[in-house]
Amino acid sequence: MRRRVTMVAVVAAALCLVLLWQPGMVRVSAQLSTPPEERYASPLEVLLSPDGARLYVLCQGADEVRVLDAATGRVLRTISVGHLPRGFSFSPDGARLFVVNSWDDTVTVIDTQSGRVKATWAAGFEPSSVVEDRPGKLLYVADRIGNNVTVLDAATGEEKTTLAAGRGASYLTMSADGSRLYATHVYPNATPHRTPPKSEITIIDPAQARVVGRMMLPDIAGVFHVALSRDGRLGVAAELHPKNLVPMAHVEHGWVFGNTLTVFGADVGRSVEVPLDELDRYYALPFGVAITPDKSRIYVTHGGSDCVTVIDTKKMLAYIRAHPEPFAEDLSASANYVEARVAVGKNPRGLVLSRDGGRLFVANRLDDTISVLSTRENRVTQTIKLVGPDKVSPLRRGEQTFYAAKYAFQGHFGCSNCHIDSTFDGLQWDLEPDGFGKDIVDNRLLEDLRGTEPFKWNGGNPSIAIECGPRTEMYFWRSQTFDDLTLADLVLYIRHLPLRPNRWRAADGALTPAQERGRAIFHRTVDKLGQPIPEGNRCAYCHSGPKGTNQKSFDVGTGKWTDNSGVLDTPQLMNVALTAPYLHDGSAKSLEEIWTVYNPHDRHGRTNDLTKDELNDLIEYLRTR
């Protein structure tokens, strides 16, 4: 008996060892159950006080603004703000600091003298950037989800008006003379199906609180910081130029993304797209831009490549003048104006120059440091470590992997190129393994993915580990990629991306009358003619459960001639209002088009008996999901 027990114990121990030994999947599941909750600083943006003595750091992960001695890096003050702050700026007189909190939809107003929060004002949906006008009367807030710029009374926070911007309005910059406000957007504006994306720089007259221009950016999808020279004659915006319409057969030769700048203003005479990449090396996710006071240099942070590009402005302008034809696709162009590439910390984002232009401060979001560069020497002279956890948790490592471009062939792009700030990009891609021109797929939102498996529009991938593992290595990166542990961390990070607050659903869950009517349509079993709707043709059948998917695949008649199969995975509905266009290939520009254009035979649910108003009600309900 004792011998049997011993043998059982030995076998059990051996089994345990085998289980522990399994790489990848076993570790992934073990980690999933206990995600660490380290609170990293995650510095996203930096500002210098008007006298240049203090460095203000927007710590997105800690929901704080930290005030540092700009010379020593010593922390002078820590100020708590709202959740997931994304942008901040001083009032023109420097007396107030405005912080926008993207998940709270608020603006925190801080008295810079005392460091105290003086007010918290309501803003639009996902406020991401904030600027006060020169007279100090109006506060402009870019709302990423709202796709607009909300104008608040700078004294009271009262909403004065809302200006329609482009999609994903996220970054605002005021010209030095205060006469123009420029807004950039992280998502592209809607364009016809399978045509190049287009973004815009919305130009606002702050004196009139009016949009006075829209600078169209053809071929551009995501635009980040925009900077203006002190004399107002040169503007520069950092942006992504995707190649989503070309089959992604390989990666070399700038096949998947171009990392570029749009340069505009009187010095240029037009808006020109200027490439930053090289033939064999890429500078992924250009984010922050700064122009020196004398306009001689432009600095660009690359969130995916962990470096700063230094551009000789004079050479760049000379090159632009000498090349009247577009040269955005010329990977050898950057050699004519790029002066240096300076390595900094992980995921560099916001940057600020000292008043004399001699020092450049760069916020490295994913290693909690600030790099201080000497602009005369083009090298990092100081690295300020922000207070935070010393240990890098698996979740944090996963996030670092998500934003790193180094895993793709020649460092071309990373997960976050298509999943901007861990969301989506509003684009449709032509992936290679399905065939050229076949199975065009809309990019889906990465939030709260647990319980939405399988993945891919054809439901072909049962888990994120498979989606992000060999398949990604073979068909996306086209290069040796993650080891098991790195993959486990990445999967952990993706699986724990939280669902952002739904802006259309009341806090108490109560529905408006229109939403209630839409809910009834969603759940109805009988059509308006009194005919029973077969179970499989009811909205609530496929889009069932808390996440709006029964995790099964169906042919609902939305397949196109370019698809290998019409059988498609049922997508989840959480925050569906954000993710236009719709359907697997992004052919429906709006929720309404799903039914009015792409459901002629009621195969995608019984909807042809509904009136326009009833479809609107259905949309109102879906927005609450």
Binding site: V246, H250, E252, R281, R478, S479
Partner: protein, 463 residues
């Protein structure tokens, strides 16, 4: 006292000459010996050969007609790396610096075969037996190597496991293809004639470790380029005629290397302190010696030279970064799909008129050209064809009357199961694609059949 002063002046003058002119004149030495000038802190392995014909392999001929021996310079002493071989050459140090692959002939009548020896020396082990010559082995990731195997049509590129398993041919044209380096991005840098395989001018090319994606490193063709290696910076340094030149990531054309006057044999090795180990000889000198050159310095410092032999192919015995493995995405097909985004684009300039069609041709085993078919070119210059994999191909653009508008310089290949897209016809690696759906894909997703009957096993199903 006077003779002391005179001596000092002479020494200074000699030093000055050495600094200004680089390698000093070759001293007379007994045959077979080597004259070491400066002790190096890291071991260096090199090939010593009475006669070195650097481009011979590109003509299918013997590079070392009078034999060669691998030598190791360690701790100030030079000695044979392996004993008892009729000939040894082509050392490649493993990424951990523990093991050296080399080509060797145990007996004079043997073909070149691939051997392995500890970097410390000792008894070599046969790695890959050859019935024909196997030369220029280079370490690849995952315990594999790439080499050149002599075949009926010349030296072919092959990737193979060290145990001989999993051999994959990487070149599919007649001609000679000789590996130079494995780049950190995982691609194999090789040299061949330009146009690929058939031309007389040595040029440098790239191919993935599964034979797909073959292309020129740069398209500023014309110069004779050979024996390239990638440096830590990522630059590829090679011999351009007698000089050194480099490809950098930023430039579409080669850039000159401002090395001191002399003739350089390529195969530059980089030492841990950043100096380059070069095989060089003064103008008019008979043999290459090995020297160290700090980029930017005015002179090459002699490390070792031999009055009777060329000292070439230096490698440094230090650990180095393992290149990325290439995850092959080849489909299980007998054919390959080729999409041109805009055939009108070319470094050769604008076409005389719009192309109406494209004709594909293959090169038969008998050397005869085989027409594979003609398909329309769309208004935007795009076309989409399916062609037999692993055989020589080329495209010819035709006008509406069927006359040739432009034809490719030479042949290339597409691997079985490869799907490949070109921006244009010979646009160069500096040209990224425009973001638009090629018109041909708006009309059809089925490629025009130009397989010459090999399309039976083709499929384009998802994976």
């Amino acid at each position: 006292m006077r003779w002391l002063t005179t001596g000092a002046v002479v020494v200074c003058a000699l030093l000055l000459v050495a600094l200004v002119y680089g390698l000093p004149p070759q001293p007379d030495r007994p045959a077979g010996g080597s004259n070491q000038r400066q002790a190096e802190t890291v071991p260096v392995i090199f090939t010593a050969a009475p006669v070195y014909v650097s481009l011979a392999a590109l003509h299918g001929e013997e590079r070392f007609p009078e034999g060669a021996q691998l030598m190791v310079l360690r701790g100030g002493q030079t000695r044979l790396l392996v004993l008892g071989f009729a000939a040894t050459a082509d050392a490649s140090v493993s990424f951990d610096a523990q093991t050296v692959l080399f080509a060797g002939k145990k007996n004079a009548g043997d073909p070149w075969e691939i051997w392995e020896v500890s970097a410390e020396g000792g008894a070599p082990q046969l790695v890959l037996r050859g019935t024909t010559d196997l030369i220029r082995p280079l370490w690849m990731p995952d315990g594999r190597m790439v080499l050149a195997r002599r075949e009926r049509d010349g030296f072919a590129l092959e990737a193979v496991g060290l145990d001989g398993s999993g051999a994959v041919r990487l070149s599919y044209l007649p001609g000679n293809f000789v590996p130079d380096d494995v780049l950190r991005d995982g691609r194999v840098l090789f040299e061949s004639g330009f146009p690929l395989g058939s031309g007389a001018t040595p040029e440098m090319f790239l191919v993935y470790a599964d034979g797909s994606g073959v292309e020129s490193v740069r398209c500023d063709h014309g110069a004779a380029r050979e024996h390239g290696r990638q440096m830590v910076s990522g630059d590829i340094v090679f011999a351009h005629g007698e000089r050194l030149a480099r490809f950098t990531s930023a430039l579409a054309e080669e850039a000159a290397v401002a090395a001191p006057a002399g003739e350089y044999a390529g195969d530059v090795a980089e030492m841990p302190d950043g100096r380059w180990l070069v095989a060089a000889r003064k103008p008019g000198a008979k043999h290459f010696g090995l020297g160290a050159w700090k980029p930017g310095a005015a002179a090459v410092t002699v490390i070792v030279q031999d009055a009777e032999r060329d000292l070439i192919e230096p490698v440094v015995v230090v650990p180095r970064a393992v290149p990325n493995r290439h995850p092959s995405g080849l489909h299980d097909w007998t054919v390959g799909n080729l999409l041109a985004l805009d055939a009108r684009l070319s470094r050769s300039g604008a076409l005389a008129e719009e192309p109406a069609a494209v004709r594909a041709e293959a090169l038969g085993g008998d050397g005869k050209v085989v027409a594979l078919g003609t398909t329309p070119v769309e208004k935007d210059g795009s076309f989409f064809v399916q062609a037999a994999g692993d055989r020589p191909l080329r495209f010819i653009l035709l006008d509406a009357a069927g006359h040739t508008l432009r034809e490719e310089h030479g042949w290339f290949w597409v691997r079985r199961g490869e799907q490949r897209i070109c921006v244009g016809c010979h646009t160069g690696p500096e040209r990224a694609p425009e973001n638009r759906v090629p018109q041909v894909l708006l009309r059809t997703t089925t490629p025009a059949d130009m397989t010459g009957g090999a399309a039976g096993a083709a499929t384009a199903g998802g994976r």
